[in-house]
C-alpha cells in the first residue's frame, strides 16, 4: 500500500500538533463549543450517545499489519476493546475520551494514519474498490488516483468549509464495487474511443433523506485534468450550494435545482479557466505515486493441487471457499474476504485481539496488507492458493471465517440507537435477530446472494436504499419501528429500493424477512437471485405476502390470548 514520503509524514505530524493545541485551547475555555465543533469534526471526532466517537481514516480501505496492531492497541488502551468498520471503509472507536484524542492521533501518525477530514463539511475520505489492483475485471488500478485525490483534498484551503460534506468514490473495474453512483462525485476510470485514459464523472449522488443517483456531468475528462475538473465542480458547489438549510445543502440538491445541463455548463465554464493550469497532472507524478504502493510483484503460479484436493474432501472448507474466496488476476493467487458478520456480533466490529490476529494473518499470508470494505468486512487481497486451507483454519480460530459473504446474514448495519445520538431506532439487534432466524447454512446457500442493509434513521449510514432488502428505523409515537424496502441495488445497476408498506415493530422483523424469502423461493426461476426475482415479478407480490402473513400472525396471537 501507499508509503508516506517525508512530506506526507510532516503534514500528518503538523496536524497532530495543531489539533493538540486546539483541544488544549478548548479545554482551557479559549475556544467556544461552536468554534471547536467543526475543528473536531474535521478530525473525525463526534460527540455521541455515550462518549466521543473517533473516526479514523482508512484511505480507500487500505491498511497494513503495523497499522492494525496500532488499532488493536488503541482499542485496548483507550476504548472498550473493540473498533468498528464503517460503510465508508473507515474505522470508528466509540469510547475514547476527548483528552486522549491528541495522544491517539500521535500514535496513528507514527504508523502513517490520521483522522483528517473523516467528518465535517469538507472533502471526506476517498473510497474505492476493496479488490483494487487484484480484481480480474479491473481496467485500471484506482488506488494511485485515490491517493492523488486524497493529497489534493487534504487541507484544501478553498474547500474546508463547504455547504455540507463531500464524498468522492473511484472505480477502476468493469463492475463498480465502490457505489460511485451514490457519491457526491463518482469517478469511473475509462478509455475513450482513441484509447486514452480518463474519467467519466458522475455528480450529485447521495443517500440520506433525499436519496439520488448521481448523473453524468462529463463523459470523459482526460486524466491530466482530473484535479482541475474536480476543482471546478467544488468551486461551483462552494459558491452556490445552499447554506440556509443543512438538509438541502448537499451538492445533489444544487444539481437537481439547476438541472444537469446547467450545472454541467457552469462547471465547464469554470474548468475552461483551470484547464492546463498548475494542478494539471503529469505522467511522472502518476508513476511516482504508483511506485509508492510498493505492491508485491506476483508471477503466475501453477494451480495448487493440494487446494483442489482439500476442496473435494472438506465440505466446510469448500463452503467457505465458495463464498469468501474470489478470483485474483494472477493465476495461483486468490483474494479472501474475512467475514465480520458472525452471528450475534455487531456487523463490522473487531475486538482488539482480532485486530492483532488479522495483522498476524496479513503478515503470514497476504504480504502484510488488508483492505476494509464498505460492506464492513476485511479483504486479504493476495493469498497463494496453496495457503488458503491454513488461512481458513487460522481465520476460523479467531471467528472470522463465517462462510456468508454476499449472503443474507452478511448484513450491512449502521451503529444505530445503541451508539448514535441521531438514531430513531436500533440497528444492530435487528441484524442479529435476522441472523439468528437464518442460522442454517445450507438454507442460506440455497437462498443465494442477498444484501440486507440497515440504517437506524434516514441519514442512511447503513445504505438501506441500495440494499436488496433495506431496513430503515423510524420513530412512531416514540416507539422504534422499521420500514422495509426491496429491489435496491448497488453496482452498475444502482437502484433505489421501493417501500413495501407500513412499518413493523422490531420483534416482527425476522418474520418479515421470512415472508420475503418464502415468496422469493415460491416464485424463483432456476437459480435466480432474490433481486432478479423482485425485478421480474415486481414488488406487489412480496408486499401482499408479507402483509397477509403478518395479519395471520396477529390473528393467531389474538386467538391465543382469548
Amino acid at each position: 500500500m501507499y508509503q508516506y514520503d517525508e512530506y506526507d509524514q510532516r503534514i500528518v505530524d503538523e496536524r497532530v500538533a495543531q489539533f493538540a493545541d486546539q483541544t488544549r485551547r478548548y479545554l482551557a475555555g479559549e475556544l467556544t463549543e461552536d468554534e471547536f465543533r467543526p475543528l473536531r469534526l474535521q478530525n473525525g471526532l463526534y460527540i455521541q450517545r455515550h462518549a466521543p466517537m473517533l473516526r479514523i481514516a482508512v484511505p480507500y480501505g487500505n491498511l497494513n499489519s503495523k497499522q492494525l496492531r496500532t488499532l488493536a492497541h488503541i482499542a485496548r488502551t483507550y476504548d472498550r476493546g473493540y473498533g468498528h468498520i464503517t460503510t465508508r471503509q473507515n474505522i470508528q472507536f466509540n469510547w475514547p475520551r476527548l483528552e486522549d484524542v491528541p495522544e491517539i492521533l500521535d500514535l496513528l501518525a507514527k504508523v502513517q494514519m490520521h483522522a483528517i477530514q473523516t467528518s465535517g463539511n469538507c472533502i471526506r475520505n476517498v473510497t474505492s474498490d476493496p479488490f483494487a489492483g487484484v480484481a480480474a475485471d479491473e481496467i485500471v488500478d484506482p488506488r494511485p488516483w485515490c491517493e492523488i485525490l486524497r493529497q489534493w483534498s487534504t487541507f484544501h484551503p478553498e474547500f474546508a468549509f463547504l455547504p455540507r460534506k463531500f464524498k468522492i468514490a473511484v472505480n477502476g473495474a468493469k463492475e463498480d464495487r465502490a457505489v460511485i453512483r451514490v457519491h457526491d462525485i463518482g469517478l469511473d476510470i475509462v478509455h475513450n474511443a482513441a484509447g486514452e485514459l480518463g474519467f467519466r464523472v458522475l455528480v450529485g449522488g447521495g443517500l440520506g433523506r433525499t436519496p439520488i443517483i448521481g448523473e453524468e456531468v462529463a463523459a470523459f475528462v482526460p486524466w491530466q485534468q482530473i484535479l482541475n475538473y474536480c476543482e471546478a465542480i467544488l468551486r461551483v458547489y462552494n459558491l452556490h450550494g445552499r447554506r440556509d438549510n443543512a438538509y438541502k445543502a448537499r451538492i445533489k440538491i444544487l444539481v437537481k435545482a439547476l438541472g444537469v445541463p446547467e450545472f454541467a455548463r457552469q462547471v465547464e465554464e469554470e474548468f475552461a479557466h483551470l484547464k492546463d493550469g498548475p494542478s494539471t497532472l503529469t505522467q511522472a507524478e502518476i508513476e511516482r505515486v504508483a511506485s509508492r504502493f510498493n505492491d508485491p510483484v506476483l508471477s503466475a503460479l501453477a494451480q495448487d493441487a493440494g487446494y483442489r484436493a482439500r476442496l473435494a474432501e472438506d465440505k466446510a472448507f469448500a463452503a467457505w471457499a465458495r463464498r469468501n474466496v474470489r478470483d485474483h488476476r494472477v493465476q495461483g493467487y486468490a483474494s479472501v474476504v474475512l467475514s465480520l458478520k458472525p452471528y450475534g456480533v455487531a456487523p463490522g466490529d473487531l475486538t482488539a485481539d482480532q485486530f492483532d490476529a488479522v495483522a498476524e494473518l496479513a503478515d503470514r499470508y497476504a504480504f502484510g496488507e488488508v483492505r476494509s470494505t464498505h460492506e464492513q468486512n476485511i479483504v486479504l487481497a493476495s493469498v497463494r492458493e496453496a495457503d488458503l486451507f491454513a488461512l481458513w483454519q487460522d481465520a476460523r480460530a479467531i471467528g472470522l471465517a463465517t462462510p456468508n459473504i454476499g449472503l443474507l446474514t452478511d448484513i450491512i448495519s449502521c451503529p444505530g440507537g445503541d451508539f448514535c445520538a441521531l438514531a430513531n431506532a436500533k440497528s444492530i439487534p435487528i441484524a442479529n435477530a435476522i441472523q439468528d432466524r437464518f442460522d442454517n447454512l445450507d438454507y442460506l446457500f440455497d437462498i443465494g446472494e442477498l444484501e440486507i442493509n440497515i440504517s437506524g434513521c434516514m441519514n442512511a449510514c447503513g445504505h438501506h436504499h441500495v440494499g436488496h432488502v433495506g431496513i430503515l428505523g423510524v420513530d412512531k409515537n416514540g416507539e422504534e419501528f422499521y420500514q422495509v424496502t426491496i429491489g435496491g441495488e448497488q453496482g452498475n445497476q444502482t437502484t433505489l429500493g421501493k417501500v413495501i408498506g407500513p412499518s413493523f415493530a422490531a420483534a416482527e422483523m425476522p418474520d418479515v424477512i421470512t415472508s420475503l424469502i418464502n415468496n422469493f423461493i415460491d416464485n424463483r426461476q432456476d437459480d435466480e437471485r432474490f433481486i432478479d426475482t423482485v425485478r421480474r415479478i415486481g414488488v406487489e407480490s412480496f408486499k401482499t405476502r408479507v402483509y397477509a402473513e403478518r395479519a395471520a400472525r396477529l390473528e393467531a396471537k389474538e386467538i391465543a390470548h382469548v
Binding site: 503538523e14 467543526p38 493529497q151 489534493w152 484551503p157 478553498e158 468549509f161 459558491l239 498548475p278
Partner: protein
Amino acid sequence: MSDIIKNGRVHVDEWTVLRLAEGDEAATIVLPAGRVIVPLAVWQARREELLPKAEAGVLGVWLAGNEDPTELAGDLSALPLIAVDFPKFADGRGYSIATLLRTRLGYGGELRAIGNVLRDQFFFLLRCGFSVLQPQEDKYTPAQLEAALASLIDFTEPYQGAVDRPEPLFRRQPRRPLHKEAA
C-alpha cells in the same frame, strides 16, 4: 481600533468597516471620517462620488458571501482594498471569492478577511490570497492574538496549489518514487 494581522505581524488598523444597519440606505448613509471600507451596495450606488476617494487610497469595498466578485471587475485598479465578509467562520464562500479575485480577476491590492475571522482558519485564509486578517474586535486579547500568529504556518508544505503557492507540492519539491529492488 481593532488589530489586524498583516505580513505575519499584528498591526493597529487604520480602517473602519461600514455596515448598513436596519433602515440605512446605501445612497444616503453618511460615511465615517478617515479610511473606510464600504459595502458593495454603497459603492455601486455612489461610484462617481467615491471613486476619487478610492483612487486616493482611503476607500475600499467589502463583499458579502453571496456577492459576485466580478461586479468589481472594472474597479480593481482603482480600489486599494477589498474585504470579504465571513458572516460565520464556517461559511466558506469567502475562500472561493478571494481565490477568484486573485486568480481570475488578477486583483493585486490588499485583500482583507473581515467578520467572524478566527485563528484556526488563518492558514486557509492566507492560502486563498488574503493579505490582511481582521478578527472581530475584542475576540482576542493582545496576548492571544500574538499567540495566534503561530496558526499562520500550521502546515509548512501543503499538498495542493492555491493562491499563495500556485504550484502543487509535486511541482514545488522533488518528491521521490519508491525504488524497488530489481526483480
